[in-house]
């Protein structure tokens, strides 16, 4: 009963059919040099990564980004006192090029100030979904050109980090609604924000409850169970899935602790070290997002979410709502009113195609 996938995992190894018999090589040929060639090519081209943070204001999204990438990704984390709180949800994107040991990464972060801040938060996920779909649309338009570029610029959101406020109870209806909708379109990693307000036991209980909620509502967060390729992946990912959502604390200040300089938050009762596993689970999040699963995030976005979007789009182009820069395809036929959100249309289409 998986609405996402109907066939094998997107990154599975190609099966060897009986038509391709295995051959024994009697000596060294040098095929493995292709790995180095790949690496050189990748380093030359550079990498791209697009991350989106969603959550209510004050949960520490911008700080978390700064902590993750150890630089001032967002200049101003505190809103100016003169600036009014945004009335509607706005999406702000900023792009940076960061380099480490010769590896260039073009990082685009998208922030969503104003999410869940209004009194009536109905359909507050629509702008976000619209933005994500707009990126898919942009990529699709580039891909179906006749003369297309050598390297299509990838602005699709690879990962969406969702900040759950540390109430300690369970997921709120807003969280559940949002997660349900978003998990079908993008890789979502939920985190418990500002976890320094919860004790360790409270954290565990909260985590279990959130996991239970996610299971009850059939929300598949990253790493999705259905994309595990082999047994090693499954073991690794189950460990991660056990700890999702991570309880994180963000800080971009340095303090001296026992002679070491650490990132942390200083309070009257102590210093919360961000990179200390005993204090919070920020290292897990960082490892997941950057050090081990970044390529996997991109692959799943490209092979699964983008393909799903493409199928929807090519099948039901007249049902999806039009964004500001979308090509006006076939005129909307006079019929019943269109579905409210693009994801719903997609799910409908998918369910139809499932039924067929």
């Amino acid at each position: 009963m998986d609405p996402l996938r109907q066939s094998a995992s997107p990154c599975s190894s190609r099966p060897s059919s009986p038509k391709t018999p295995p051959c024994e090589m009697l000596g060294y040929v040098g095929i493995e040099a292709v790995l180095d060639q790949l690496k050189i090519k990748a380093m030359k081209m550079g990498f791209e990564f697009n991350i989106m943070v969603v959550g209510q204001s004050g949960l520490g999204k911008s700080t978390m980004l700064n902590t993750l990438f150890k630089s001032k990704v967002w200049k101003c984390t505190l809103p100016g006192l003169a600036m009014p709180t945004p009335q509607t949800l706005q999406l702000k994107s900023v792009t940076h090029v960061i380099e480490e040991k010769g590896v260039k990464l073009k990082l685009t972060v998208t922030d969503t100030p104003g999410f869940g801040d209004q009194i009536n938060n109905d359909k507050c996920w629509n702008p976000i979904l619209g933005y994500i779909n707009e990126q898919y649309e942009r990529y699709l338009q580039e891909e179906i050109l006749i003369t297309r570029q050598r390297h299509i610029p990838d602005t699709r959101v690879h990962c969406c980090v969702y900040f759950v406020p540390p109430t300690g109870h369970c997921l709120r209806p807003l969280d559940i609604e949002f997660l349900q909708r978003l998990c079908r379109t993008v890789n979502v990693v939920p985190v418990i924000a500002r976890a320094d307000s919860l004790t360790l036991e409270e954290r565990e209980a909260f985590r279990r409850r959130i996991q239970h909620n996610l299971r009850t509502h059939c929300i598949e967060v990253y790493p999705q169970k259905c994309f595990d390729e082999d047994i090693n992946d499954r073991i690794l990912n189950s460990k991660i899935r056990d700890r999702i959502p991570f309880a994180v604390v963000g800080a971009d200040r340095q303090h001296l602790v026992n002679g070491r300089c650490v990132l942390g938050r200083k309070t009257k009762w102590g210093i919360i070290e961000v990179e200390n596993m005993a204090h919070c689970e920020f290292p897990l999040l960082r490892d997941l997002l950057i050090r081990s699963h970044l390529q996997d995030l991109k692959d799943i976005t490209h092979n699964v979410h983008y393909e799903n979007y493409r199928v929807c789009r090519l099948n039901e182009s007249h049902v999806l709502p039009h964004g500001p820069c979308w090509v006006n395809l076939a005129p909307t036929p006079p019929g019943p009113s269109v579905a409210p959100g693009p994801s719903k249309a997609c799910t409908q289409a998918r369910e139809d195609s499932d039924d067929n």
Binding site: A8, P22, I146, R291
Partner: protein, 619 residues
């Protein structure tokens, strides 16, 4: 990051002392001339205590007023990041007496917590302005390890305010063990350094202050690719018996099962065979396509056609997969030809016309690597002349062979040196001969042994280097980005798709798809109608035929019946006659018997009676 609680009073001394020095050091004549004015303005600001707490807007407003003039506008985003201090250039610059006097006057401002703030912000502002106007250098620094303070110090050292680092460090050190202050200093300094960029640039280079960890990205990518496996397809074009299969065996150090082809093929056909090779953890799905019967026919006009068709068919298959609505490109077994090895016969003179024609047809579809086969039949000096002749012929005929890439520094050198030896003169052999004290692949002749892997003997090693060890990935990339894209473009334009229509409104593939689909459906419907009509007509014909036949049958039946009846009547008539005759005969018989009995009864009267009777019976 400005936080209202940070107290910097101890630093203000240093700060204000160097304020004037800094203003002087900004190295802008305008700034210097207006220095007194600025300082005055500062004084105003400080004394009036304008702009209560650290409000970003507030600070910027105040400074705007003060900094009007030479140090024109600064991007508003910066105001947030203004640090409360950046002392610099203390020991070096000689402060003008007036300025320092003023500075000293400014120094002891009790209870004015915001004074030093704003002074400091102003200082930072000017400093940044100067730096920017002077032409800021690219900030894309390699991230070193370590905390921000040292990083900031290191960065600052690289900048014009070189002495500032020392002063800053000094100031920072002098702040002493006040941790938040130090942190604030460090953070602020780093911030002032790292953030100072106008925000109207699209891409910002950010400097990292610690190890983030995405340098493992290439490894992640490589791991993914390794688990997926690689695909490589080679096409070998050459006459029968020129050594294609042997060369493949030698290249990949294995024995691919194949039977040698005969020379009796009626036409050229392509035979593709796939194999799975594994080396350490790299899996390669290798497909070798052979041209069977190439150059064997008497009329070789159409020799190139099957080859071109095969290549196009692979492109077409990929294009179809790509255009599908529900596609699975990551699972797709890529059969497009990545490299074409063209085997040139070792005549020693020049290229054959068949070779030229075929290569010309193939050069826009596939990466061609020409090689001279059976190179052990050519002497060294002849070989050199042969090679240059071939290359000049290729150039003069405009054949585009594969160029080894020279844009990447790591491989440019080796590629450049190897390109000189094109076309490679190769010898293939799977048999091993003992040379010295080890076995090597070689061909044994009565006059010597040709070693395959000896660079003096042939270019096999160069070919293997170029084809497999250095450029395999580039070959695949060229196939995908150049040849396949060209094919795709031509094919789609042929099918009637365009990117923009004459009104310069962007078309979409989808729209033309729909149009084509409707057209196709219409055609289908028409065909269906036609077929239905034909069917109906045929049915009618058949019916008519059947009716005819039925009628005939009926007639026949009637005829038969009639004849049957006639016969029957005849037979009955005959029967009646027969019966009559029989009756008559019986009557006669009866009568005769009676007479006989009467004659016997009366003997006498017999004669008379007999005579009478006889007369009577006779009459």
């Amino acid at each position: 990051m400005l936080s209202p609680q940070t107290r910097l009073a101890p630093v203000s001394l240093h700060l204000l002392r160097s304020l004037s020095c800094l203003v002087k050091r900004v190295a802008e004549p305008e700034a210097r001339t207006s220095a007194p004015r600025i300082l005055l303005g500062l004084q105003h600001v400080v004394e009036r205590g304008v702009a209560a707490r650290v409000q970003a807007a507030g600070v910027s407003v105040a400074l705007e007023r003060v900094v009007s003039g030479p140090t024109a506008t600064f991007a508003e985003g910066e105001s947030c990041g203004l640090s409360p201090l950046t002392p610099a250039g203390g020991p070096h610059a000689i402060p003008p007496p007036t300025a320092s006097a003023r500075a000293r006057r400014l120094t002891p401002l009790p209870g004015e917590a915001n004074g030093p703030f704003q002074a400091g912000s102003h200082v930072a502002l000017i400093k940044r302005e100067g730096r920017r106007r002077g032409g800021s250098r690219c900030r894309c620094l390699r991230a070193g390890a370590g905390c921000w303070q040292s990083a900031a110090a290191r960065e600052a050292r690289g900048r014009r305010a070189g002495a500032g680092a020392r002063a800053r460090a000094g100031a920072a050190a002098s702040v002493g063990g006040e941790h938040p202050g130090a942190a604030g200093v460090g953070a602020a300094a780093a911030m002032a350094v790292a953030v100072g960029r106008p925000s109207n640039e699209e891409l910002r280079n950010l400097s990292l202050s610690g190890h983030v960890g995405f340098d493992s990205l290439p490894d992640q990518l490589v791991n993914k690719s390794t688990s997926q496996g690689f695909c490589f397809n080679i096409l070998c074009v050459g006459e029968t018996g020129i050594g294609k299969s042997t060369l493949m065996d030698t290249l990949f150090n294995t024995k691919f099962e194949s039977d040698p082809a005969t020379h009796n093929e009626p036409g050229v056909r392509l035979k593709a065979r796939s194999y799975e090779l594994q080396e350490s953890n790299v899996r390669l799905k290798l497909t070798i396509v052979d041209t069977v019967g190439f150059g064997d026919q008497i009329n070789k006009d159409d020799s190139y056609k099957p080859i071109v068709e095969y290549i196009d068919a692979q492109f077409e298959a990929y294009l179809q997969e790509e255009l599908k609505i529900k596609r699975s490109l990551f699972n797709y077994h890529d059969t497009r030809i990545h490299a074409c090895l063209y085997f040139i016969a070792p005549t020693g003179h020049s290229l054959k016309s068949l070779d030229l024609v075929t290569m010309k047809k193939l050069d826009s579809k596939v990466n061609i690597i020409p090689i001279i086969a059976k190179a052990d039949t050519i002497a060294k000096n002849e070989l050199h002349k042969f090679k240059s002749k071939i290359m000049s012929e290729l150039v003069s005929n405009g054949v585009q062979i594969y160029q080894f890439p020279t844009d990447e520094e790591t491989v440019a050198e080796i590629n450049a040196t190897m390109s000189v030896h094109l076309p490679f003169a190769v010898v293939g052999s799977t048999e091993e001969v003992k040379i010295g004290n080890k076995m090597a692949k070689a061909r044994q002749y009565p006059w010597g042994v040709v070693q395959v892997e000896n660079e003096n003997h042939c270019d096999f090693v160069k070919l293997r280097e170029m084809l497999i060890r250095v450029n395999m990935e580039d070959l695949r990339e060229q196939t995908h980005t150049r040849h396949y894209e060209l094919y795709r473009r031509c094919k789609l334009e042929e099918m009637g798709f365009k990117d923009t229509d004459p009104d310069s409104k962007p078309f979409s593939l989808q729209e033309t798809y729909e149009a084509k689909r409707n057209e196709f459906l219409g055609e289908l419907q028409k065909k269906e109608e036609e077929m239905r009509q034909m069917f109906v007509m045929r049915v009618k014909e058949k019916e008519a035929e059947l009716k005819e036949a039925e009628k005939e049958l009926h007639e026949k039946f009637d005829l038969l019946k009639r004849t049957h009846q006639e016969e029957k009547k005849k037979v009955e008539d005959k029967k009646k006659e027969l019966e009559e005759e029989v009756n008559n005969f019986q009557k006669k018989k009866a009568a005769a018997q009676l007479l006989q009995s009467q004659a016997q009864q009366s003997g006498a009267q017999q004669t008379k009676k007999d005579k009478d009777k006889k007369n009577a019976s006779f009459t």
